[in-house]
Amino acid sequence: MGNASINHRELLEDLLLTRRFEEKVLEVYQDRGIRELPHSSIGQEAVGVGACYPLEDDDILVPSLRTRAVMLLRAPLDEIVAGMYGTRSGPSNGRTTEHHMGSSEYGILGTTGMIGAHLNPAAGAALGNKVLDNDRVTVAFFGDGASQRSEFHSALNFATVQELPVIFVIENNHWTEASPIEKLVAVDDLADLANHGLPTKVIDGQDVEEVVDATATAAQRARDGDGPTLLEAKTYRYRPHAETMPEHRDEATLEEWRDRDPIELYRSRLLEEDFVTEDEIEEIDRRLQTRIDEAFEAAETDELPDEETMYHVYKDTEIDHWKGVVR
């Protein structure tokens, strides 16, 4: 893509949206609780933000439950927050969690609670798009944990041998739930686990423009019919795996990563290069905060779904949901 075509202020705004949103989630969760258990992406926002940036609106994104940026950049804010509350304005009216929501309208492939189970479906979405002969690229995001599952290898192998238009993005935040990655995997770079005949690249997940560039190159390769790419973005999460788990990680390492905070890095660079002023950033921040606050207020007063909402199991057949038989 090259930096020339990046709208720096827009990219900064995407980063700030994700950070402010996640901060709000923590604040509300700690204050009065949220039905969906937060799995915060604070610290690793630049991966999702940067990877989404060079894509087309109809490209298909397959997020991990922590790739909050994908949801925020594709779906309406009100719907996302309602999805966390399980209220009727949520993405499936409260049937599912925001973490795994799927929407053809927003180009988000639905996922499940099984880590890495979405990698073969992501390859499959790319296969579907190839069969339908459209120009769409599919981008799958997953953590270091998923790289330990066989899904990782079978999906990469299939995508490569079929030359599918898909990009696999490992968000390596160095912790698989509560265990450090070096205790679970014997290589330094997870990209080295993949020797399937596809190009791999290790990138700095804290540098949003590096993520933009790498994704743009991979997307072009996919659109040219040359097949998949694996990107490993090195990053770090500031919070535990989930908000119910106590923090037990080394404070010094956490501080080292905080010194390279992805939002702060980009913010100071843009200020230094006069792409944006402090006043403009404050203005962006205020605007985002208002939008976010309003979305949470809306969700907190939204109604819970009626029982009928869950009777939505088969598209083509009417059943008696209590007997489990054809009506």
Partner: protein, 335 residues
């Protein structure tokens, strides 16, 4: 009347293998979004030759071989279906379905529920079951009970060549994920198949033989055993109604209940172990809604609660047969 004669004239005798091949051919030709893939389905034509000639006809964009990875078959089919294609994947033996189980149970079955915009998962997983060929513990199990308890999946287990073809075509056109189970011991069975294009709706129970004395609800390959049992019983003056649900889930129970209300006797027949199986669910549904019509306890015919044994003598003892159904019907009537 003349129309009926015409319909008869337009039927040809076909094996299940031929009717399935034709169903796949017709649907690949009808809809460009239909694709067929799996282990050895393309150049080799499928282990049981169900997809023979399709790769040559439609090319490797539409019919292709895949790596030996059931997670890729199940998972990629979900993704391709969500993206708007209509994938048909062949998982060589139903015994291998648990490897793709996560994608069937947690993914395919749940995405229509998970999505808020009516997006569904129009995929078909074809897989083979059937006991009696000495393939042992891991190449012949009937898997329907493993997946019956999963809301969102449809499970189809046809019996005759005509049903196989009409139901496979419907399964491919259906917007929900379908597990289409083929009895590998019956691929060579032949029967009349309409020459003109037709489909048979999913989730519709069929009556394969009329009778007033006992209802036998049989699934998949056991329909043939039930029909054989019915012929033998007819010689003894007992007329069985053979009911073939064809779709295991969601089950069309009304014709079963109506039959039991008429005959007052219920026998179920399946190849899988009796405990926790399809017949148990049929029995429970009948007890719920037609208990007072029953003149005798329900008899369930199925396999014992053991793995499929390898030795010929053990396998013979294991597989349920027409004789077992005959005995069950007589037992019920004499109760």
């Amino acid at each position: 009347m003349s129309q009926q004669v015409d319909v008869q004239a337009e039927q040809t005798e076909q094996t299940i293998r031929e009717s399935l091949n034709q169903a796949l051919y017709e649907e690949l030709e009808r809809d460009d979004s239909v694709i067929l893939y799996g282990e050895d389905v393309a150049e080799y034509g499928g282990l049981y030759k169900i997809s023979e000639g399709l790769y040559e006809e439609f090319g490797d964009d539409r019919v292709f071989d895949t790596p030996l990875a059931e997670t890729t078959l199940g998972g990629s089919a979900v993704g391709a279906a969500l993206a708007g294609a209509r994938p048909i994947v062949e998982i060589m033996y139903a015994d291998f379905l648990p490897i793709a189980g996560d994608h069937l149970i947690n993914y395919a079955a749940k995405m229509y529920f998970n999505y808020g915009d009516e997006t569904s998962v129009p995929m078909v997983v074809r897989s083979m079951y059937g006991t009696g060929d000495g393939h042992g513990l891991h190449h012949g199990q009937s898997p329907e009970a493993w997946f019956m308890n999963v809301p969102g999946l449809k499970i189809v287990m046809p019996s005759t060549p005509k049903d196989y073809k009409g139901l496979l075509k419907s399964a491919i056109r259906d917007d929900d994920p379908v597990l289409f189970l083929e009895n590998k011991m019956r691929y060579g069975e032949s029967g009349p198949v309409p020459e003109e294009e037709y489909t048979i709706p999913l989730c519709e129970t069929d009556i394969k033989r009329r009778g007033d004395d006992a209802t036998v609800v049989a699934i998949g390959g056991m329909v043939y055993e039930a029909l054989e049992a019915a012929e033998r019983l007819s010689d003894r003056g007992v007329e069985c109604e053979v009911v073939d649900p064809r779709t295991v889930t969601p089950l069309d129970t009304d014709p079963i209940l109506e039959s039991v209300e008429k005959t007052n006797i219920l026998v179920t027949a399946q190849e899988a172990p009796t405990f926790g199986g399809f017949g148990s669910e049929v029995a429970a549904q009948v007890i719920d809604d037609a208990f007072f019509y029953l003149d005798a306890p329900v008899k369930r015919v199925g396999a014992p609660f053991t793995p499929i044994p390898f030795a010929e003598s053990l396998e013979e003892a294991y597989v349920p047969t027409a004789e077992d159904i005959e005995t069950a019907v007589i037992d019920a009537i004499e109760t």
